[in-house]
Symmetry: C2
Subunit: 630 residues, 2 copies
């Protein structure tokens, strides 16, 4: 029996339907309409066998035209398209990481951005051989940041963070030639290999996909995560709330949306400034309510307990509540649809990054020097916009759920310390967790990640899989839109332990955690790589042996393809609920499902049916247990 406090997917859909009535009234389209209009989708694109890489074409593979004009087969075409998706994703995540490096480079004790986690910065400095003794921490920060920026473009050598891997992994990576050099160089190499007249060998394309993905997960993304922690604090458990009910009728509602915490931190800080709170009250509002959407929500929730409106496919619906004074966005996953939609409301739609220029928005280019003041100016503008709501367009759903978030690796180890015997046991390790897994109290762990995708019922796959895993004593770590699905449903409420199998329930009680641990945004999947690596090291086995797998049941973006590549290269099987666009090539399907497992120990298992996918996950975990003899 499900606890009655969960917000079911049926209920979520009822709420969506109510909000869509406003859209209908306004005569504005939403993704539901556009998805319908775009159905059926092109089967060539779906299968990855449409090539637009040169202008001799476009070419499409059919029984009558089995090759492109250049002679490229379905395998070459699907392989190239696939590698370009990895390149797009790795570029995107990594460029986010670069922006964080730049912010760290410009950190200033008297400026907008300060160092928060000094100890973490010093740890990384030591790891990279950068002197810390008797140095101003901002000097250290600048040198670490510069070294980080060079990780994108250094002419020689492999990425520094690869050294964090366990020895067996590094050996495999070297043998399989998937150790990435400078991040940007790998992306460019992927683009070069896929250019007309270059690599047509699917295996070589897949291998570069692994390498390019690694430059993201163990390069750009990992720097994004680590330096965000240095700047804004390493997440530790805290309470927040999630779903539309976090919006406040009587407050100035500002939504921060996108990915990079640099902008959202400034808005959150400004919303706590006394003078602005005072201004809000003067305007008749009871306060300033900054809420997060998409991965920005994860960033600010993890560090400040900022409330989460929802995930990717809710971005239009958040505006449709009619109570959003301002939607401030930075980069990635921002619907261009927000432009025309915001114009139907009083909502100010503000873009802040040159990476994401969107028609119908006002562009306020954030810069490190003025960011604090820019954040204040935006909050002020939102306050002044409070009076402009149109009552006839307002509907705020009441539903919201409590969520306990903030489970960085450091936080997880800290929680595990709580169940060690401080006199006898080694502290700051994953050993208590490993002992639980060995004993079978917990069967294993699943990293649930990824987006929403209208190809499947939104959030449904996330939730159905998570619920069944929990019942089977499999603990879940989450990031991205998967995290918010769990939060909205109520699975990050510590009470959700009662819904789990007896073993997992007991662990949640002892360690005082929810059964679904929120590890952050999509770049923070790098945390999951370090978690798996840490477990493998503490266990004394290689990562592919650990009963841990990844699952992206509703993935949508190229970033997800890049992630999937570094996850499998890290040695973690990845279960996908959306088929990568390579099905038109048998060789590519074989390579991504089995080929990579032979190379690096991890591969994809693909099934659009969440129930079957979950069965495969449980079987996969049990098989890993059996192989370990536990």
């Amino acid at each position: 029996m499900e606890p009655n406090y969960f917000t079911t997917v049926d209920r979520m859909e009822e709420i969506s339907a109510r909000l869509l009535k406003t859209a209908e009234m306004l005569g504005i389209d939403t993704w539901e309409d556009r998805k319908k209009a775009q159905t059926p989708s092109c089967r060539f694109g779906d299968g990855g066998i449409c090539c637009r890489i040169c202008s001799m074409g476009p070419c499409r593979i059919t029984p009558k035209s089995p090759k492109g004009i250049c002679g490229a087969t379905a395998d070459a075409i699907a392989g190239r398209n696939y590698l370009r998706m990895v390149a797009g994703g790795a570029a995107t995540h990594s460029d986010h990481g670069r922006e964080i490096c730049r912010v760290l480079y410009n950190a200033d004790p008297n400026g907008s951005y300060k160092i928060t986690d000094v100890a973490k910065l010093e740890r990384i400095a030591k790891e990279w051989g950068i002197e810390t003794e008797d140095r101003d921490i901002y000097d250290v920060a600048r040198e670490v940041a510069y070294t980080g920026l060079m990780e994108y473009g250094k002419p020689f050598g492999e990425l520094k963070f690869l050294e964090r891997a366990n020895e067996e992994r590094k050996k495999v990576w070297k043998e399989q030639d998937v150790m990435p050099g400078a991040v940007d160089k790998e992306v460019v190499k992927a683009m070069h290999m896929t250019h007309m007249g270059n690599t047509a060998d699917a295996e070589a394309l897949v291998r570069q996909g692994l390498r390019t993905g690694m430059s993201d997960g163990w390069g750009g993304s990992m720097m994004g995560t680590e330096f965000s922690d240095v700047l804004f604090g390493t997440p530790m458990p805290k309470d927040t709330e999630a779903f539309f009910g976090v919006l406040e009728k009587d407050m100035v509602n500002i939504i921060v949306h996108g990915h990079d915490p640099a902008m959202s931190e400034m808005v959150v800080q400004a919303s706590e400034d006394r003078d602005l709170l005072e201004l809000a009250r003067k305007t008749g509002a009871k306060g300033i309510n900054v809420c997060g959407l998409c991965c920005t929500a994860n960033e600010v929730a993890m560090r400040h307990g900022v409330k989460m409106v929802g995930n990717f496919l809710q971005q239009e619906k958040a505006l449709l509540t009619g109570v959003i004074e301002m939607m401030v966005v930075d980069v990635q996953c921002i619907f261009p649809a927000l432009g025309p939609l915001s114009e139907c409301f009083h909502t100010k739609f503000i873009t802040t990054s040159p990476i994401a220029r969107i028609p119908g928005s006002r562009f306020v280019p954030f810069n490190t020097a003025e960011a604090r003041e820019q954040g204040r100016a935006l909050v002020r503008e939102a306050i002044e916009n409070f009076a402009n709501r149109d009552e006839s367009k307002i509907y705020i759903p009441e539903e919201k759920q409590k969520a306990n978030v903030g489970y960085s690796c450091e936080a997880i180890r800290h929680c595990l310390d709580g169940v060690t015997n401080s006199h006898l046991d080694e502290r700051d390790t994953y050993k208590p967790l490993i002992d639980c897994v060995k004993a079978g109290v917990i069967r294993g762990a699943v990293a649930m990640v990824g987006c929403n995708n209208p190809k499947v019922r939104p959030d449904y796959s996330h939730i159905e899989i998570m619920k069944r895993l929990l019942k089977n004593d499999i603990i879940i770590v989450v990031t991205g839109c998967a995290a918010q699905a769990a939060a909205k449903y109520g699975l990050m409420d510590k009470r959700a332990k009662d819904f789990c199998g007896a073993g997992l329930k007991r662990v949640c009680e002892l360690v005082d955690i929810p059964p679904v641990l929120h590890m952050g945004s999509c770049v923070d999947i790098s945390r999951m790589m370090l978690l798996a690596t840490g477990i493998a090291k503490d266990w004394g086995i290689d990562v592919p042996q650990v009963p841990v797998v990844g699952c992206a049941p509703e993935w949508m973006s190229e970033k997800a393809v890049s992630i999937a590549n570094y996850v499998v290269t890290t040695g973690i099987d990845t279960y996908l609920g959306i088929e990568p666009q390579v099905s038109g090539s048998k060789q590519m399907m074989e390579l991504i499902t089995n080929g990579t497992r032979e190379m690096v120990g991890g591969g994809f298992i693909i099934n659009m049916d969440p129930d079957q996918l979950c069965t495969a996950i449980i079987d996969g975990i049990e098989a890993k247990r059996a192989a370990l003899g536990i």
Copy 2:
């Protein structure tokens, strides 16, 4: 009247038809078959309004579905696809340049690669502030190369070669925010901007296209050209021959195909080794005949007078002659079709770069340390393969043309020195040429560049446009497949002056040049940028004022799109005979044809009809003359 020694396009096509009979006999497909099977092509792809950037789609723009699922309009989708083409092209050219930087970095007086043009290396070192006094030239080379490699990844600052531009250009670039930083960073930024949920504003996408293109033309490509000159010699005029008749029935025929001169130089050197020539004779061959195809042909013809078999769409036909003992390729524009086709013959198909892995080839990864010996081993293998020809499959067309090639900027200025008064005039300038243009003896110049594309009759557009320009006293500089079209036809034979207008004819006689000047491979379009810049500087006007335009009547690859972007940003109008895949967006069409001209002084003029395109070119040049009052 045309001179009777020209090889007409009709005649070229007769020869092709004869070679295709062999393909038919063997039951193997060629691009002609595959083009037919791929016709009609997808109108969504053609118009740039199919989006496969995330896996919610693919989405296509139609009257019934005017937006993608995310809300992206035709403008956003076409703009993103277009910028990705620029990114693919810039990545590709620039990665070629990076490889040359690496070779230079590893240059060794006792190794495979040596410094040939010491003076040029010293000039570049001085330009970059690198000490040359009392230093070993190989130390200088290493520092210059390292600095060059850092141009791909340096965290801060703009590209060094941008300083070569005239002041007016630099001012425009700064004002328009199109000065590129590190090459790889611009490509990654382009990939990031076009990722799902980022830039949907077409103008911002076009501007990043200009910036990314500039990172190619004034970055990666320019380094590729300059350092190739340093390593292998700056081209100076020399004689060669072109077209299938350069293949020798009684000799070991080796075709070098691709782009990067590092591999082909080694094969050419090995083919001149006495012991290998002796071995060839022992095997019954009269010698070793290395010929070039595609841009590799341009590289080795310009520096060594190596003969040119032909251009892009002839690569299969070269094999169909049945006398190719070995086809050695490196990167770019290599048909995957060569794999199965070579298997129909005794031909050894050798790939040498990890960038271009092709099924049906043998992979011999070239490396700087062993390259000289690797080149020798390949030539030896080709010699041993001479005996394996199948007489029943042999047909060598007799046609070939003389061509005078090797017109680097240095060579052009040197030729112009020949008509100056050495006592009175400044030497090593473009002033004599400028005087001719001012006087109207030459009306202007056209840079004819780009590929072949089966969308139009191969070579026909190149040739028809060139012939009419020559008759109109417009001098032509060429690179890439356009160069080979001219060479095959006979337009690089100095005799072709007789076919020109009286003014141009007189100039060709005085300066002793052909009317079509071969400036090199596609990366060497950077030479054309320096030529236009040099002319503008010597004239004292800005580049867009100079009666010089670019024309790519049969372009095909993403590289061409990148080139077109840096050419217009340099201020040179570019006439295209193939429509960029953005026609589904009015805004994008407007931006690339007129928008960029307002930004940076150059834009595209598009016309699929070569005659109309040529009229537009002549009108464009005359309009520039009129504006100058000449």
